[in-house]
């Protein structure tokens, strides 16, 4: 019963058995590997279509975080006088906005991805995991574009990156995994409960204030720090600031808790997704 849609290579013909249900943690990794080209095309489609028929095109990827940065600098930096660990507030907030914007886009897009691709899901077979996976990956393009603006700002503020900057891909990867984990849950839930789709924008808004975007982690009372780390993005943003802005050593405790939280979300997300996946085509 456990091994259900397995492809077994017998000679050169593969045998597929379609049965009622599959195992708890059957990832169909070989199926995902087999369909890697489709994953590539889905990501490519999302990127390609993203700024079609717009005037400034990919400029939007820079505009949005820059505008947010300005408003945050005025409101939180100047009016509210929120500390920024001794760094210029604009770059302090922009460094956090990069991973945050990526994460927000990735979960909002992967959250509605299954419903948005309902026509595909009800007409063609492919590993369903590819849908939220591609939706969570495509916004990396925006990240890259916005990152170039960050480099320009660092030059402007005379901040020389150290070897810490080499860890950026790692933190970005953690952000991707976190977004995928949340995206798996949201997309699978959204298939059955469309309420999820409507609550995502609201969720993202709340989540941003629960993450150290506009304020430093040091503002959080020490006794609450570990609890604070349960927010997976706390560790990621903390990591970004450390890697790029030469802060003193980051709060390792927060990072570890964030990482553990991400793994928990990811594994449970895969299980939930895998179990509900079997009825997507019937429910969506």
């Amino acid at each position: 019963m456990a091994n259900v849609m397995s492809s077994v290579d017998a000679g050169n013909a593969s045998v597929v058995i379609v049965q009622p249900s599959k195992g708890l943690l059957d990832l169909e990794l070989n199926a995902i590997w087999h369909y890697r080209e489709l994953l590539y095309f889905l990501i490519w489609r999302d990127i390609k279509v993203r700024y079609k028929q717009t005037v400034i095109g990919a400029g939007w990827a820079i505009c949005q975080p820059l505008m947010t940065m300005m408003i945050f600098t005025i409101v939180f930096g100047n009016f509210a006088k929120i500390p920024s660990d001794g760094l210029p507030y604009p770059i302090f907030v922009y460094t956090a906005l990069l991973p945050w914007n990526y994460f927000a886009q990735a979960i909002s897009r992967s959250g509605v991805s299954l419903v948005g691709n309902a026509n595909l899901i009800s007409k063609v077979y492919f590993p369903r995991l590819l849908v939220p996976l591609s939706a969570a990956t495509a916004p990396l393009m925006d990240f890259v574009v916005a990152f170039i603006a960050l480099l320009a700002m660092m030059a402007w503020f005379d901040i020389v990156p150290t070897w810490h900057a080499l860890t950026i891909p790692l933190f970005l990867f953690v952000a991707l995994v976190a977004a995928l984990a949340v995206g798996l849950w949201l997309s699978a839930l959204n298939v059955k409960y469309r309420d999820v789709g409507y609550s995502i924008p609201f969720l993202i808004q709340l989540w941003m204030y629960a993450s150290p975007v506009a304020y430093p982690v040091s503002l959080v009372p020490a006794k609450w720090r570990l609890l604070y780390g349960l927010n997976p993005m706390a560790g990621v943003i903390e990591g970004f600031r450390w890697a790029l802005l030469r802060q003193e050593s980051p709060d390792i405790g927060i990072m570890l808790i964030s990482a553990a939280m991400i793994m928990t979300l990811l594994l449970s997300g895969i299980v939930y997704f895998g179990q509900t996946e079997q009825t997507f085509a019937d429910v969506v």
């Binding site: 019963m1 849609m5 017998a10 000679g11 013909a13 593969s14 045998v15 597929v16 058995i17 379609v18 049965q19 009622p20 249900s21 195992g23 708890l24 369909y35 080209e37 489709l38 590539y40 095309f41 490519w44 489609r45 390609k48 279509v49 079609k52 028929q53 691709n117 026509n119 595909l120 899901i121 009800s122 007409k123 063609v124 077979y125 492919f126 059955k192 409960y193 299980v271 939930y272 179990q275 509900t276 079997q278 009825t279 085509a281 019937d282 429910v283």
Partner: protein, 444 residues
């Protein structure tokens, strides 16, 4: 290694029809139930009151290289079966063993994105259908040529006409090269020319390339042309598995909107005009060919047995059975007036038999009209006794035994005829027909 392509055992699929009810469940109820189900690994699918078996205990086998048609009414479970076989959804119980790479076409143009160009959509759609990038590259020019969209290949498909869109979509699908091809009603779209092209391609795929094909259609003509064997589903159960002609005949005769052959059809409640002094009350029709369950077929005979009630003895100079096309064109009018025979009716029920020797109609659905009059007594006011313009419908089928490439679809016209190829001459120069062609023909 076995020569089986598909092996289906006791396949069943249950759907909850009261979906709305679950919506009102509390989310956390669902949640705990879901968790419990996960832990139990869904050993037994839970039975609910608002459920329907879309598929029930269906078992069959398909050999490699076989072309199998699946027929049945709407809601018979055909699409559910295809969805399970193409792994879009899972069965509730039973299993299907599939040997080889499956390509399924449940719709043309799945995943087309209107913002992308024709070229981009070919790659995207190809990938979605399971083609390898290299495979798409190799077939790219052929796909574009098949779709006849060369000039617009770098235009977003949202600017395409619906015909171009459809052609491009089918072209990609047609170049899918799986070992097992699953096709659902794809031919039901497009204009006549395009349908013909699709049918030709389907035939090419199945006959010449030796692939296993499962083909669902309501087009009995296409089914008969393409399939060597047929499965028929009714209410989720497999009720026929055998020769195409038998299954098709069974399908046609199970249609309640169309009258069955060889059975009395009550026409007394049809729309009658005329005096009604003599009138049709019931009719039987048949082709006298048992292998197609007496269904009429092209070039075959067609007999009618008419039950006429008359209020007194009278003579009928003109009794006619008329066949109309569905659009209402009168195609055949078998009128006894042409025979110069007068039918003498007695008071009460009279049985009259009429036989059309050869039916020169292509496969399709036709409407039967009935006419009863006595034009010889034209000075009488009541010369027209009965006229039923649309008594019932009959379906003319294609007798599988006929020769040909099977590509003469009904789009070639309503009426058919006997014809033959006389001679083929070759002229070194010039384009005209040889001047002595008449002599050559007469030699035949």
């Amino acid at each position: 290694m076995s020569d089986l392509a598909i092996q289906v055992e006791q396949l069943s699929k249950q759907y909850a029809i009261g979906m709305g009810k679950y919506r009102h469940d509390r989310l956390c109820d669902q949640f705990t139930r879901g968790l419990r189900a996960m832990v139990r690994r869904k050993g037994r699918p839970h039975l609910s009151r608002d459920t329907i078996w879309a598929l029930k205990d269906v078992s069959f086998e398909v050999k490699k290289g076989e072309v199998v048609g699946i027929i049945g009414r709407n809601g018979a479970g055909k699409s559910t079966l295809l969805k399970i076989l193409s792994r879009i959804t899972r069965p509730t119980s039973g299993y299907a063993k599939i040997h080889g790479r499956v390509g399924s076409l449940l719709e043309v143009g799945t995943g087309f994105h209107s913002e992308l160009t024709g070229r981009e959509n070919i790659y995207l759609n190809g990938a979605i259908l399971g083609m390898k990038n290299a495979e798409i590259k190799r077939n790219f020019d052929e796909i574009v040529a098949f779709a006849e969209v060369e000039k617009f290949i770098d235009t977003p498909v949202k600017r395409y006409s619906s015909g171009m869109y459809l052609r491009l979509a089918f072209a990609v699908a047609a170049h899918l090269e799986p070992e097992i091809l699953i096709v659902d009603e794809v031919l039901a779209v497009g204009d006549v020319q395009f349908q013909k092209k699709c049918l030709g391609k389907m035939r090419d795929v199945s006959k010449n390339q030796g692939r296993t094909v499962l083909f669902v259609s309501h087009n009995m003509d296409a089914i008969q042309r393409l399939c060597s064997r047929c499965l028929m589903l009714e209410d989720g159960r497999l009720i026929a598995n055998g020769s195409t002609s038998g299954a098709v005949a069974r399908y046609l005769s199970s249609d309640c909107s169309r009258a069955r052959p060889n059975e009395w059809i009550d026409v007394s409640r049809s729309n009658h005009t005329g005096t009604g002094q003599a009138r049709f009350v019931a009719v039987q029709y048949r082709s006298a060919n048992e292998t197609v369950a007496f269904q009429p077929y092209s070039y075959g005979p067609l007999e009618f047995l008419l039950d006429i009630v008359s209020d007194s003895p009278r003579s009928i100079g003109s009794m006619a059975v008329t066949l109309f096309s569905l659009s209402g064109t009168k195609l055949v009018n078998a009128d006894t007036i042409a025979l110069g025979r007068v039918i003498g009716l007695q008071k009460g029920h009279n049985k009259v038999a009429v036989r059309i020797e050869q039916l020169y109609l292509n496969p399709g659905v036709y409407v039967v009209g009935l006419w009863l009059a006595n034009p010889i007594d034209a000075n009488f006011a009541g010369a027209e006794f009965d006229y039923v313009e649309s008594a019932f419908e009959i379906e003319v089928v294609h007798l599988a035994a006929s020769k040909g490439f099977g590509l003469n679809s009904k789009s070639d016209g309503v009426v058919t005829c006997h014809f033959e190829l006389l001679d083929v001459t070759c002229e070194a120069v010039g384009t005209g027909i040889a001047p002595d062609w008449q002599e050559k023909v007469s030699l035949q």
